[in-house]
């Protein structure tokens, strides 16, 4: 018997069934793949934190970013990251799961005037301490985030940036090595002020030889993403200012 697909009852039943079928398929997929995706995200966070403190597999040529492979990252993370802290209401407490804290949620809570937790990582490499701060901000189209590793003179030891949806070939290049490498050696201090690092157009220093100007050369065609990166660094270091003052060598 042929069904009259134009009848309203049929349409409503069809729509209902479609919702149930599609919903079940997606729910099944999400619960099946969920744990694998969570683990991937965990590894990615560890890779990014290690990358910022210079633990990576980058070659000598300024080619592409090469992180610690996922099968080694957990071991390397325990090896290099000596302590993890959570800063809440001015109190700093050790917490081994600090790297799982979602900074986006914490900043949203801060903006609502509620209490918030700030994760912080202390790494050690070649007998030198690295203080790694997570960052979160806005690019042109969507979120940008990253990590900045500082030493006790507030000199940048390395950075890592990533983005959700910046323009390919333009803003998306903030995660390219030629941009990331420029930050190393810059100071986030201007005198005693936590100034951050500007992403400057026309600072006439494309090779970034000047390390005392609180600025790196911008990417052509990515003004708004670049400004976002600069704003993100400045906001983040100011959030951690109280802690950084306690470790800074004056």
């Amino acid at each position: 018997m042929a069904v009259d697909t134009d009848k309203n009852t049929y349409t409503v039943i069809f729509a209902g069934l479609m919702v149930v079928v599609v919903g079940s398929v997606l729910a099944f997929l999400a619960s099946g793949l969920g744990p694998t995706i969570k683990q991937n995200e965990r590894y990615a966070t560890q890779q990014d934190i290690l990358y910022a403190m210079g633990v990576n597999e980058n070659g000598d040529d300024a080619g592409s970013v090469s992180k610690i492979p996922t099968d080694k990252v957990e071991a390397e993370f325990t090896n290099f990251i000596k302590e993890q802290f959570v800063i809440e209401d001015g109190k700093t407490t050790p917490n081994d799961e600090a790297f799982l804290i979602d900074l986006k949620k914490q900043l949203a809570s801060k903006n609502k005037g509620n209490s918030y937790k700030l994760p912080l990582f202390v790494g050690e490499k070649d007998n030198k301490n690295y203080y790694i701060i997570p960052m979160y901000g806005k690019g042109l189209w969507d979120a940008i985030w990253g990590y900045i590793a500082l030493d006790d003179t507030m000199t940048v030891q390395g950075v890592y940036f990533d983005h959700k949806a910046e323009t390919a070939g333009l803003g998306a290049n903030i995660k390219m090595r030629y941009f990331l490498d420029d930050f190393t050696g810059e100071s986030i201090l201007d005198g005693t002020k936590y100034a951050g690092i500007a992403v400057a157009k026309g600072n006439n220093d494309p090779l970034n030889n000047r390390k005392d100007d609180n600025a790196v050369d911008a990417i052509a065609g990515a003004t708004i993403t670049g400004n976002g990166v600069a704003a993100m660094i400045s906001e983040s270091v100011n959030l951690y200012k109280d802690y950084l003052e306690t470790i800074r060598v004056k």
């Binding site: 697909t5 323009t167 070939g169 065609g221």
Partner: protein, 215 residues
Amino acid sequence: MALLTKKDANLILDPLTDNNPITIQVLGICSALAITAELKASIVMAISVIFVMGMGNVVVSLMRDIIPSKIRIIVQLIVVATLVIIVDQVLKAFAFELSKTLGAFIGLIITNCIIMGRFEAFALANGPWRSFLDGIGNALGYGVILIIVGFFRELFGSGTLLGYPVFGDPIMKTGLYATGYENNGFMILPPAALIVVGILIWVQRSKNPALVEEN
């Protein structure tokens, strides 16, 4: 018996040439402009669209006799959206790095008008096998143009291909840059894609005058 009859083969070959979705039908231009600044993004987008369009055409074709005509566009949208979420989740689970590179592009597939166009124009009226071929053919036709545009934009905009320097180092002034050559910054901006697509349309129509519309 051959796997594909001549008619079936044309379903794949036509969209590659004389019935190309981008250069002839001028569909899917939005993503052709947005993501072709780099060759890698173009290739990955092309592969993702091949999967979504091939599968989507089959699903819609199988459901063609039971879809109520009043809500068929919504049903087609749900099919595309579901497939796109599947691609996204599978990539996140098994190719995490790649899924991060793709980011927003995967979501953009939903808005690709070629997909809805093929569902509406072909899959609703044909069987699953022919719909599958039509989907693959159109996605290939779309992908080929994307890759050509991506090739020229990355080469002349950034002086690289798939991220590898082709012309030398623009900052240290080596290779071609030593002669005073500069990258064309305009090529990485979206309007450049429109010009490259325009040139492709021009080349194609001058080779085959039958494609030129009469005024």
